[in-house]
C-alpha cells in the first residue's frame, strides 16, 4: 500500500558508522574498476584481459601499410583469360590467404605478384601490380630484382640436389650476401624451425630429409635472402597433418618479419592461419571460365558472417 512518509524521512540520513562502511565497499568497487587491484578479502586480482581477435590488434587503418595493390589485374594464357580484373591490397606483416575452388586462378594470381608468370611463354598480364607504389610490370623493371624482394615457396618441396647447407647458401652466394655465411644459414634454418633437426648433418644431401623438413628447408632458403614478402603456393598440401601444423605455427612467427601471402585449397587452414582472406571463384563463360575476386575481408568475418552469398556457399561447403 502507501508508504509512511515519516518512515521515509527518517531513513534518508543513515547513521555515521554505516556511512563509513558504505564508503569502504564503494571504494572497493571503484578501485576495483579503476585499477583492477582488489582488497585481499575478496578475490585474486586480475587485470582486464583483451581477447585479441587475430589481426584485430594490428589492423587499424592508420598503421596498415599496403605492400601490394593490384588494379584491374587480368592474367591470360594465350587467348584464355585466367583471372579477371582483380583489385586487392595486401597489408604489411599480415598473413593473407587466397581461397577458392579449383581453377579459379588463385595460383595464377599469386604468381603474378612476383612475375613468375613470365616463365610461361603464353602468359599475358594487364593492369597494374603496385609493389610499394611501383608497378612491377612497368617499363624498366627488372624481374630478377622483383623476385629478390618477393620470394616463393612451392606446393611440392623442391630443394636443390645439393647439401642442406648449400641449399640455403646458394642463394646467398648468388645474391652477394656472402658475409657471415655460416651465421646467415644458421639464422635462416632457425627461423624455419629446422636448425635443431639438421645442425649435425648440414653437409648431407637435402633429399635425405622428410617431406615436411624439405618444405621447411625451402622456406629457410627463401627467407635467407631477406625478402620483403614470401608467397606460398599451397605449401602444405603435400604434407601430413603434423608437418602441416608445424608450417602453420611457423607462419605465425614469420609474419612478424615478413608479409605472407598463401594460396590454399584447404579453407580450414586459411581460417587457422590467415589474418585476411580473399575468396576467388570461377565465373563461367561460353569460352570456359575465369577467376574473379568475390570477397576480401578479415578472416573472422569471412568465416562467421561473409557478405557475399557465394562466399558463404563456399565456406559452408555447400558449393565448390
Amino acid at each position: 500500500m502507501g508508504r509512511d512518509p515519516t518512515q521515509a524521512r527518517r531513513a534518508s540520513s543513515p547513521p555515521a558508522g554505516l556511512e563509513r562502511a558504505r564508503r569502504q565497499s564503494r571504494h572497493a568497487l571503484h578501485d576495483g574498476i579503476a585499477s583492477g587491484a582488489l582488497e585481499a578479502d575478496t578475490m585474486h586480482a586480475v587485470a582486464p584481459i583483451e581477447i585479441a581477435q587475430p589481426g584485430e590488434a594490428r589492423l587499424s587503418a592508420a598503421n596498415r601499410e599496403a605492400v601490394f595493390e593490384t588494379r584491374g589485374l587480368n592474367v591470360s594464357y594465350g587467348k584464355a583469360l585466367a583471372v579477371a580484373s582483380v583489385d586487392l591490397s595486401i597489408y604489411r606483416n599480415l598473413v593473407t590467404a587466397i581461397i577458392g575452388p579449383s581453377g579459379c586462378g588463385k595460383s595464377t594470381f599469386l604468381r603474378s605478384l612476383n612475375r613468375m608468370n613470365d616463365l610461361v611463354p603464353s602468359a599475358r598480364v594487364e593492369g597494374e601490380v603496385l609493389y610499394h607504389g611501383q608497378n612491377i610490370y612497368g617499363d624498366g623493371v627488372d624481374p630478377v630484382e622483383v623476385r629478390r624482394r618477393i620470394g616463393m615457396v612451392f606446393q611440392k618441396p623442391n630443394p636443390f640436389p645439393k647439401s642442406i647447407y648449400d641449399n640455403v647458401a646458394w642463394g646467398l652466394r648468388v645474391l652477394g650476401m656472402k658475409d657471415d655465411l655460416d651465421g646467415r644459414v644458421e639464422r635462416a634454418l632457425t627461423q624455419a624451425a629446422l636448425w635443431d633437426e639438421v645442425k649435425d648433418r648440414l653437409k648431407k644431401s637435402a633429399f635425405g630429409l622428410s617431406g615436411g623438413q624439405q618444405q621447411r628447408l625451402c622456406l629457410a632458403r627463401a627467407i635467407a635472402v631477406e625478402p620483403d614478402v614470401v608467397l606460398l603456393d599451397e605449401p602444405a598440401s603435400a604434407l601430413d597433418p603434423i608437418a602441416t601444423s608445424k608450417i602453420e605455427d611457423l607462419m605465425h612467427e614469420l609474419k612478424n618479419d615478413y608479409t605472407l601471402v598463401i594460396v590454399t585449397h584447404n579453407m580450414q587452414q586459411a581460417a587457422r592461419v590467415a589474418d585476411m582472406t580473399a575468396f576467388f571463384t570461377l565465373e563461367r563463360t561460353e569460352s570456359g571460365g575465369h577467376g574473379v575476386l568475390v570477397e576480401y575481408d578479415e578472416t573472422p568475418k569471412i568465416f562467421t558472417q561473409p557478405a557475399d552469398k557465394r562466399t558463404e556457399g563456399y565456406v559452408t561447403g555447400r558449393f565448390g
Partner: protein
Amino acid sequence: MAVDAARFSLTPSPRTRRRKLVNLLMQALATIAALAAVAVLAVVIISVARRGATALNWDFFTKTAATFGQSGGGVANALVGSLVIVAIATVMAVPVGILVALYVSEFAPPRIADFVRLVLDVLNGLPSIIIGIFVFGLLVVGSGQAAWKGSFALAIIMLPLVARATQEVLALVPTTLREGALALGASRWRTVVGVVLPTTLGGILTGTVLAVARAAGETAPLLFTTSIAANTVTWDPRQPVLSIPYDIFVLSESADPADHARAWALGFVLISFVLVTSLTARLLLVRYRKRLEG
C-alpha cells in the same frame, strides 16, 4: 547358388585359355627377336676376334707398320692418331653441343627452339662422307691435310649427339627446380649454371661418351682430311695422322695376309672400345637417374 558361382568364377574358361596362348606366343616371338639381336653381335665380335687373334701382340700396339717387304710391325701410329683426332674433336664438339642444348632448352623462344632441334636432327642424319667433302672443300683445299681438320669433321658429327643427349637430360630437370632458383632472385644464367647444369652432368657425360664411341669409328670424313700420313707416330695435330678406321681400310687392301690379320685385330680393338664406352655410358646413366630422383 550355381548361377552365382559361374558369375564369380576365377578358374580358367575357354576364353582365358585362348588368351593365355596368345600371350605365350607373343612372349616367345619377342624373346626370339631379342636373342637374335644378341646373337648377331656375338657372331660379329667372335668372328672379328678369331680372325684378328693372331695379330694381337705387343708389337702390334707399339710399333708402326714395317717397311715394305719386312714382316712384323704394328699399328701404333693409327692408335695414337685416332686418340689425337678424337680428343680434339671432343674438345671442339662438347662445349658447343652443351651450349646449343642450353640455348634450345632454356633460352630460345619455342618456335626457334623447334627450328634448331630440326637442324640438329638433319645434321645427325647427314651422310658422313658429305661432311667429309664439305670440310675438305672448306679447310683442306689449298692448305693440305691435318689431324685437327679431321677433328673438325668429326666434331660436326659429334655435335648433334652431344646436343641431343644434353637436351634430353635438361628436359628431365623438373621445372620446379628452376622455379625454386628463380624465385630467390637468381638470374636465368645463374640458375642454369648453379642448379640446372650440375644436375645434368651425369647425362652430359653419357652423351659425350656415346658421341666419342661414334666418332672413333667414322671413316669417311677422315678420308679427305687426314689420311695421307707418314708412317711415324705423331702427336702433332697440324700433321695429317692415320686413324684406326682408315687403317683398317688400308690394311685390308694390302697383299700381305699378316696385314689382313692386323685389320681384323684393329677392328677388334675398335669394337672393344665401342663396347666399353657403351657399357660405361649405361652405368653412368643409371647412377645419374638414381641421383636425380633422390
